[in-house]
Subunit: 400 residues, 2 copies
């Protein structure tokens, strides 16, 4: 109740004020309350380097308390930017800290990219399927999304050319993709296709947004070079994150790009920069000496889980469901056979205590009715086998 | 250079892709390299509770490592939301953690509010002058800003009514203000005007955004009740922050509002939530027992500095420059006399090693040519006296 005795502020009044672009968005993803959550892309919890991070935080606060606890600027802590830049230097490419900006997770980096480059009337190209967070970030700025089919090798260049030819609006600005360990499809794009896509993007003035959220979690050896590296840092906004190899709870992501693009991203910031306390803590952790062994340990953990997931899924699904075993990342992307649909499958799975995500969430426009995403990294192998065996039962039940 | 041997990605090509709304924004504020920075609103560095925060971080990571280091959800850590909600409960108002959402600083809370409620064609009302971060956040969503003159008691209700009557576009959605220790004007709105503004906002369906960034730093006793409290939580989005009483480097802010408004803000999040590591660290710190004594200490520090700033400014400026001594917050808002202008004043100040901010930055449309903002909290009294004495010389030089 307001000071006048009656308040006009009921739920409908609030709802009437909601921004138009927000009405087109799917809800953000959330954790499931079911026994087995194969819905969220959450890393293993037991292997989180909590003790090392606590020590790193203490060192950061001891060494420069005022620096760690005072605004650190929109671009982020320079020594951490330099550390990240160094990892992107190759024989043909030398970059420095002015090629990096730090964000609150890679989701926020995508929001920052959208703020800098997209507005109403603009178009961006995404895969079909693609990461729902990118769909939300781009739509929230009023952009139109053009989606391009993917196959087992990622976004299809022939379909991209077709979509560009068919598009009648203003020239699309961005091409968003996850070429390595794609979310949700699990695919990794071969070198030849990477080069082909870079060529098309250059010809059409498309700025590539390369989301490499699963970098480092290589289960079958190193992937092809990044698009950023192949393009010598030109025309590619490379998005990285500490979420998968250090911890999601730090909310540390970054964009690596040519300095002139970074300047636009820094200009577009509206949050007075991310946390220098977090930046310094992470750099102390990275320099602490245990990071590489930690990533090796994660690879072993996830390799075992991936193998358990793939083996159990083959047995459990038989001919009802197809999938390509991923070489990294967090997901099995299921293609449901004739007579099966994603919603029925997910409902049958939920009845058996297993949360999975129906495919349509991963499509900007249409599709996914016969796809389901299964996130396997959070569960130890024994529980994972149990959960996926139940998905096999769910598939059989949904098919009958 | 791209794979094709020539890159089309020069600076002009990047610039051509920039989002239209971005082109209307002033640059974000940054720290000065001059000897005395009276430009940025940065708290005292020596009093930052670094040791206590390090201990709090260690406890948070020890007690629940997986919780502190894994995605914490879009709304933020529930026990910290409950702690904040409890501080907003009064005799006539009981709220819980569902009335609070946590952001990366209050600047990000404003961005979140803009994402939820503003789009192209929408209008928002701000003070003239007002906080430049709010101008940027609202404009970045394509909103039009209507500005309403302030006097020594804050935003003028009569001028608000005039502006509403004169406005010919769609009904404005938001009314943004800092009723207590305003940035930049330093004013605190008396109770009667708060009630008058709430009445006008209710009649016009204006959702109030009450920015209370300087809450707690009371130098002359408690201010009037918040608009949120006077409105019994209806029709007001109250924005708070840990920046001024704990540390800016944590990047922790929040919005307190009716649960139905909070749900819209949570839905509009694009960053997968803020850091649960930071949330748990701050709550451990707040519960650690030293917080209230710390705020008392800050009040004493800032009271001494405010008094030094006011006293020196009176001596240094004489009749050339007027200002109202603030009862809290971080700023002296200078009204330059005849023959003085903000740009010349700031230039003369910079030549004497003192950074200040010319007034026009604080006006959404026009104005501020004879205003200057002076942020006094970061310097100890002796340096502050020296800096402000130099501003007196700058005023004399600019006037001649």
């Amino acid at each position: 109740m307001g000071t006048s005795g009656t308040s006009p502020w009921n739920e409908a009044a609030i709802e009437a004020l909601v921004a138009p672009f927000l009405r087109d968005l799917a809800p953000p993803t959330s954790l499931s309350v079911l026994q087995y959550d194969l819905n969220a892309g959450v890393p293993d919890r037991a292997s989180l380097p909590a003790t090392e991070i606590a020590e790193a935080a203490a060192r950061a606060l001891r060494d420069d308390p005022a620096g760690a606890l005072t605004y650190g600027g929109n671009q982020g802590y320079e020594p951490l930017r330099a550390w990240i830049a160094e990892r992107h230097c190759t024989e043909g490419l030398t970059i420095g800290s002015d090629s990096v900006t730090l964000c609150s997770g890679s989701a926020h980096a995508l929001d920052n990219i959208a703020a800098a480059f997209l507005g109403p009337g603009d178009a961006a190209i995404v895969g079909a399927p693609t990461y729902p967070g990118a769909i939300r970030a781009f739509r929230a700025r009023g952009a139109t999304l053009i989606d391009v089919p993917q196959d087992a090798a990622g976004l299809r260049p022939d379909a991209l050319l077709e979509a560009l030819a068919a598009w009648e609006g203003p020239a699309p600005k961005l091409l968003y993709l996850i070429p390595t360990y794609d979310n949700p499809s699990g695919s990794t794009m071969p070198l030849a296709r990477r080069e082909e896509l870079l060529g098309i993007a250059g010809e059409h003035g498309l700025l590539i947004v390369e989301d490499d959220a699963y970098a480092g979690l290589d289960l079958d050896g190193p992937p092809p070079p990044s698009l950023f590296s192949l393009a010598r840092g030109q025309g590619v906004l490379y998005v990285g994150t500490a979420s998968k190899t250090v911890a999601t709870g730090l909310r540390l992501g970054w964009t690596v790009a040519a300095p002139e693009a970074i300047r636009q991203l820094v200009f577009a910031r509206l949050d007075n920069g991310a946390s220098p306390f977090v930046h310094r803590t992470v750099l102390e952790y990275l320099r602490g000496g245990g990071y590489h062994a930690h990533v090796e340990r994660l690879r072993a953990i996830y390799r075992e889980r991936r193998d358990a997931a793939v083996e159990t899924a083959r047995e459990a699904f038989g001919d009802l469901v197809r999938f390509h075993p991923p070489a990294g990342g967090f997901y099995l992307w299921l293609h449901l056979g004739e007579g099966l649909d994603a919603v029925s499958f997910a409902r049958e799975a939920a009845e058996r205590g297993v949360a999975v995500t129906p495919g349509p969430l991963y499509f900007a426009n249409e599709g996914g009715e016969r796809n389901v995403r299964v996130a396997w990294p959070a569960l130890p192998p024994e529980q994972l086998r149990d959960a996926i065996a139940r998905l096999g039962e769910a598939a059989s039940a949904a098919a009958s």
